[in-house]
Symmetry: C2
Amino acid sequence: MSLSMYQASIPVLIRMMSNLSVILDKAAAYAETKKIQPSVLVNARLAPDMRPLSFQIQSVSDLAKGCGARLAGVEVPSFPDTETTFPELQARLAKTITFLQSLTPAQIDSSEERNIVLKMGGREAQFTGQAYLLTFVLPNFYFHVTTAYAILRHNGLEIGKADYLGAR
Amino acid sequence: MSLSMYQASIPVLIRMMSNLSVILDKAAAYAETKKIQPSVLVNARLAPDMRPLSFQIQSVSDLAKGCGARLAGVEVPSFPDTETTFPELQARLAKTITFLQSLTPAQIDSSEERNIVLKMGGREAQFTGQAYLLTFVLPNFYFHVTTAYAILRHNGLEIGKADYLGAR
């Protein structure tokens, strides 16, 4: 046996988004306890020219739904980036998870060699399904999950690696 | 065909560590240009109770060499965590990459079902090779690469996503 494209993608993406959802719940509770306007955290950044927490969550969602849809060969669902509150960010994660849960292993497996074309900036990037998952989706997805974690951690939220990794 | 354990691990880990090495070069040059003591960056953190840059690089190395060795069924090389300068951190990444390059696809492939036992804190965690790679190594590895990036970005280093992802 070997690794399947499904195993290496969909359950991993769902798991990390579920963990991120628990972290966002803790962030909302922290804002309430500390009398911090939730928007302060939603708009927090690690540097003036880095993107805020809301963007990190939207990127996580975009990478996950793009991955599932492109590997399965179905249309990528379009979610407008309009979230400005914790409940809205939670809803964004939830509908992304629901979409991924609708995809079956049969749709995703054998997508290693599928030709994936991404529009990035003005140009097109071409990948095999395997290269798309391993060198584009996963590094970018983990980047934005970790940056969301780091923004909240930097702003005083008491979370640790176990929150990021989730329960085994 | 499907994804091989080798493809999903070794080239990915080497690639991201090579990108991180270029980022550390930029950080060292930035310290020199701005007359910042390099140790300020090496010891920088995103929160007082988060670990500094040096620890992030050591963790990246530990996860990468642990993954390669455990999936191949060879002894994990022991590198003492003594690095306190950019050249030492670069050397740590370089010897980790050299170790991974010494492993062949034949050693790593078919490790999906290998029993992996990790000592974590006081207890032992058991994984199949596949679960070890997908739910332990990759999330943790990307966490520490991204945190290293975020620490430097937060401290004014002008890097972007292209530095993190590397050239295609």
